[in-house]
């Protein structure tokens, strides 16, 4: 990973840099698996090694392939970076040692989650129970961040209405399946793969309670299916398959569902995002709340991924 990072800084060929960033993310995902953090590894592999690389490659098609040399060195920036790094390292000296069993997080926080998660929430996957219930606020913030990112991309890049069509040889249809005749291998295999990818995304979404998975990974895989469709069939076809209003609806509805579950819990007499109040029995309420908010997270992430990719891909018009 260090070699990949050094290579990314020193190389000037941007294509190689993008590939190295994908390799870095994949090695990070393998590292997380070795550290037994399977949910994080799943998300890192899907987002870092998958979606990020595709988005960077899409942007690379619009810019040059070599990074411009900066002739002079900026001493001021170097000093600022060193000072900031020194302050950060100095502030970590106050923290407990890594892996120290007497640190507060290992004495109070982690045992509460590990021992009480089964009785209070009843979900086999403790990561999901921590993410969705004990730390529900943080996950609501993350979902809002993803929604904001997609909105920012939409504001910066714009709707990308196609005004100029690509030059095509005469007589070639520009639209529909007839245009893809020469690419029959990729067309057929991708159409066979797409239902399996969607099925897998739904499996990951609803299986997050029992194994690695949950809303984020499922949304990313759902978006990846649409990205595959876009890569083979073109941006125009994808804009017809999943319309603009539906994409915006997906993004907003997810956050609305998440926050709405919190408000519903308030109206039923509990705390905000206190799922125990949602049903007659506390663990049932927790299950219901977790399923609903994971569905909201998955919807927002899927809508955001598709929107961001279509914004990036539709830029050369």
């Amino acid at each position: 990973m260090a070699a990949a990072a050094v290579g990314m800084i020193r190389l000037r060929n941007l294509f190689a840099v993008v590939m190295l960033s994908g390799i870095f993310s994949l090695s990070a995902a393998a590292l997380y698996v070795v550290l037994d953090a399977v949910d994080v590894a799943f998300t890192e592999a899907a987002v870092g090694a998958g979606i990020s690389t595709v988005l960077m490659l899409g942007t690379l098609a619009l810019t040059t392939t070599e990074e411009a040399i900066k002739p002079q060195r900026n001493i001021g920036a170097l000093v600022v970076v060193f000072l900031t790094g020194a302050v950060l390292i100095y502030s970590t000296l106050d923290m407990p040692l890594y892996g120290d069993p007497t640190a507060p997080i290992h004495l109070h926080v982690a045992p509460r989650y590990i021992w009480d998660s089964g009785a209070e929430i009843g979900v086999p996957n403790i990561v999901t129970s921590v993410l969705a219930s004990y730390r529900g606020y943080d996950t609501l913030g993350e979902t809002t961040v993803i929604f904001t990112a997609a909105c920012v991309v939409m504001a910066l890049i714009g709707r990308g209405r196609s005004k100029v069509k690509h030059q095509l040889p005469e007589g070639a249809p520009s639209f529909g399946y007839a245009a893809l005749k020469p690419h029959s291998v990729m067309r057929v295999t991708s159409k066979l793969l797409l239902p399996l990818i969607f099925l897998y995304a739904l499996y990951v979404q609803f299986h997050g309670d029992f194994g690695p998975g949950g809303g984020f990974q499922a949304g990313v895989i759902f978006g990846a299916a649409f990205i595959l469709y876009t890569l083979i069939f073109g941006v125009d076809n994808t804009r017809i398959v999943i319309r603009g209003w539906f994409r915006r609806l997906m993004m907003s509805a997810g956050v609305l569902i998440y926050a709405g579950v919190g408000v519903a819990a308030l109206l039923m007499g509990g705390n905000y995002l206190g799922y125990s109040a949602l049903a007659h029995e506390a663990t049932h309420g927790q299950h219901l709340g977790i399923n609903l908010i994971e569905f909201g997270v998955g919807t927002t992430v899927a809508g955001a991924m598709i929107t961001i990719f279509l914004m990036f891909a539709g830029q050369d018009r």
């Binding site: 291998v185 990729m186 295999t189």
Partner: protein, 117 residues
């Protein structure tokens, strides 16, 4: 019986890793884009399949074996398609395969220059 399974899985995993090494070496040293894609294909098929078979021997007749089998099937399905896409895009960019009969002592050509022969 255990020892037979262990020996078989050792052989398969070592053979698969050897194929992976050969493929990686080929990816670095073969002269042409298309030949390098072929070397990458060796890693995906022979390397992966042998390692997975070795792991299947270790797992025995459980769900893990079925999952390994499905993973191998999935990669055998998608890897040739991605190689095909790569080769198609290379051809449409004008990269000509380096044939044996234009070897008049020419150096290795950079792959983003369309061939002049």
């Amino acid at each position: 019986m255990e020892i037979v399974l262990d020996v078989l899985s050792w052989i398969c995993i070592v053979a698969g890793s050897a194929f992976c090494l050969v493929g990686a070496f080929g990816m670095l040293r073969l002269p042409d884009v298309f030949a390098r894609m072929h070397a990458a294909g060796i890693i995906d098929t022979a390397g992966l399949a042998l390692v997975a078979v070795g792991l299947m021997f270790q797992a025995g007749l459980t769900l893990v074996t079925v999952k390994l089998f499905l993973i191998v099937m999935f990669i055998l399905y998608t890897s040739p398609v991605s190689t095909h896409a790569l080769a198609q895009s290379a051809l449409s960019m004008g990269v000509k395969p380096k044939l044996a009969d234009d070897a008049d002592g020419n150096e290795y050509k950079k792959e983003d220059e369309p061939s002049k022969t």
